[in-house]
């Protein structure tokens, strides 16, 4: 229809190196502000929808989302602050080489950027296209991450030892950090923890540093080619994907088919309902049962905790990582790394 490239572009933030900020800034995507006015915003999670704003204009339509989840037995998470719980646990297991701090199923190499997104300390504000100088918050994130890096080698050794042995991993690892589908994993780990540790599972998420809000990551998102000759049809197609009820059959979920959380409110609630009545995937002796009412209620209420959402920008994330790696892994002073980060972010934004 456009004659030059596709009319609708679909992205996956976990499996591509797309730079959503630069792509939107290049003028190749259609500004969807007019289309958004026709949308019944109450039918969708508004904070998630807003993640599609770049430089003050809506260029992307978020289609699904996720949060970085941390699974542990209830006794490992003290109070509400996950950051502190992890730091305390890291100290506790410091001298025990048989224990690891955490497994990390991130599927992202830009750890620093990821934790800056979660903690609300991003230096790049894509929504306004501005640089945010938040040294204190970034330092706090970096200091936390440095502890994780310090424990990583030991954690990896334990992780390798119990590779494909969930029971072993659960008893030797304090936390399981997952970036795969929250909906799939809550039910999966609930069964797994009960079966292998005889303890209740607790799911936690990293909150923002300045409040208890949670930042969600947009996983699938779509946009319209600025050169399209049929905007209406392209928009209609995008909307149909937003409302699609395709991701509710969790019974056959395998790792390759991780279903992420829909942006449509009713779609989300239907997913949770299905989780509480369906049996999960089976493998070996494992049979994942339906989600408990308690965890179901937690999931129903979960969207209320989300105060912000971002489309992960792993391209920029790698710039952040390059700048902060000397601090995280080589002992270079934080100030030096932070100055480099500001200089590069400035370059990134102004070029």
């Amino acid at each position: 229809m456009s004659g030059k490239g596709p009319d609708v572009l679909l992205f996956n933030s976990l499996y591509s190196d797309t730079d959503p900020y630069k792509l939107a800034s290049s003028g190749i995507l259609l500004d969807l502000d007019a289309q958004m006015e026709t949308l019944q915003r109450a039918d969708y999670f508004e904070e998630i929808l807003d993640a599609g704003i770049v430089n003050g204009k809506q260029y992307y339509i978020p289609l699904s989302w996720n949060v970085l989840q941390v699974y542990a037995t209830e006794d490992k998470v003290t109070g509400n602050n996950l950051y502190e719980s992890i730091l305390q646990e890291a100290e506790k297991i410091a001298d025990d080489t048989s224990l690891g701090l955490s497994t990390y199923q991130f599927f992202r190499d830009d750890w620093m950027n990821l934790f800056m997104e979660l903690g609300g300390s991003q230096v790049l504000d894509a929504k306004t296209g501005t640089l945010q100088d938040q040294k204190e918050a970034v330092q706090k994130t970096a200091e936390f991450l440095k502890v994780l890096y310090g424990k990583q080698e030991q954690s990896n050794t334990i992780g390798m030892k119990y590779n494909n042995d969930f029971a072993g991993a659960l008893t030797h690892m304090s936390f399981m950090v997952e970036n795969f589908s929250m909906l799939t994993h809550v039910r999966f780990y609930e069964t797994l923890y009960l079966r292998n540790t005889q303890k209740e599972m607790a799911m936690s998420v990293f909150t923002r540093q300045d409040d208890d809000g949670v930042t969600a990551q947009v996983i699938n998102y779509g946009a319209i080619n600025a050169n399209t000759q049929n905007v209406e049809a392209a928009w209609e197609f995008l909307q149909s994907i937003m409302d699609v009820q395709a991701s509710v059959n969790f019974a056959r979920t395998q790792t390759e088919q991780a279903f992420y959380t829909p942006v449509n409110v009713k779609g989300y609630e239907e997913c949770v309902r299905q989780l509480t009545i369906q049996k999960g995937p089976t493998g070996g002796k494992l049979m994942v049962g339906p989600l408990s009412t308690e965890q179901g209620d937690m999931l129903y209420a979960f969207p209320d905790r989300i105060t912000e959402a971002v489309i992960p920008n792993t391209t920029f994330g790698m710039i952040v990582q390059e700048c902060m790696d000397p601090y995280l892994q080589e002992g270079v002073a934080f100030d030096t790394c932070y100055d480099t980060l500001l200089q590069r972010t400035n370059l990134y934004l102004s070029e």
Binding site: K22, S25, S26, G27, N225, T340, E351
Partner: protein
């Protein structure tokens, strides 16, 4: 009469053959150089990527308002100037010091090897030096091309008439005088070629810069190639085209100057 006509026909055939042999070059030049350059000029006036949509001087205005573009532009030509001047001073020194003996030529051949080596060999070493990025890049540039430059000049010098030097020796000319008044003017066309070649080589230095300092290096070594590369990756083709046109201007002026300037000094 017939003989004259045959001769004429033969000449036409010869002329045609000449052009026929030139044709592949002309087609190649058109396809890979002139047409793509023309398209680039045109694209610089597009307001968006993908479909051409006339946007006037929008891209140029936006470029000239960008501090980052100016920084990249000035960095490029400053760094290029430092690299080429340093390389040439060293080339001239080595050209003066070394003679055409087998040992020296062997040494020059060894010095030329870095040009063929993969860039990561030197970059890993350069990182350990912890020097200013600009110094590191100048060092890499010299390391890569010095041997080749002197080697090429030495090879060219071997074609020089030995009688000129003999005559100069008879007139008691010093080594420096012979170098200044005979060897250097003789080598001028080759030097001119190398100066043009160096401009191209400088842009190839991006590989090492990228390996060392990534997509966004420190301000002092952020050059036009970074600007091009990043805008290409971000599909901002119209901005990239406008930047390429602006960058081309001094480069072309320099090349035309070199092409025209030294004709009167040529001895070959």
């Amino acid at each position: 009469m017939n003989k004259g006509r045959d001769k004429g026909e033969l000449q036409v055939k010869r002329e045609m053959k000449k052009y026929l042999f030139l044709l592949p070059n002309v087609i190649g030049m058109l396809l890979f150089y002139l047409l793509s350059m023309g398209y680039c000029f045109l694209y610089a006036f597009s307001s968006k990527a993908g479909r051409f949509s006339f946007g006037g001087l929008k891209n140029y205005i936006s470029l000239f308002q960008s501090a980052t573009f100016f920084m990249a532009f000035t960095n490029t030509y400053i760094l290029m100037g430092i690299c080429i001047v340093s390389l040439f001073l060293l080339t001239i020194v080595l050209e003066y010091v070394l003679d055409s003996s087998a040992l020296h030529l062997m040494l020059l051949m060894l010095l030329s090897v870095p040009m063929l080596l993969p860039p990561n060999l030197i970059t890993s070493y350069a990182v350990d030096l912890q020097l200013s990025p600009r110094i590191v890049l100048v060092f890499i540039f010299i390391w890569k091309y010095l041997g080749f430059h002197v080697f090429l000049l030495k090879m060219a010098e071997m074609g020089m008439h030995t009688e000129w030097m003999d005559a100069a020796l008879l007139d008691h000319a010093s080594k420096w005088q012979m170098f200044l008044y005979i060897r250097l003017p003789y080598l001028f066309p080759y030097i001119r070629f190398l100066l043009i070649f160096d401009g191209v080589c400088f842009f190839r230095l991006f590989r090492e810069s990228y390996l060392l300092y990534g997509q966004y290096p420190s301000d002092e070594v952020y050059t036009m190639i970074h600007f091009f590369f990043n805008n290409f990756q971000n599909m901002n083709y119209q901005r990239l085209a406008a930047a390429a046109v602006v960058t081309l201007v001094p480069f072309m002026v320099w090349n035309i100057f070199l092409w025209k300037a030294g004709d009167q000094y040529e001895m070959v």
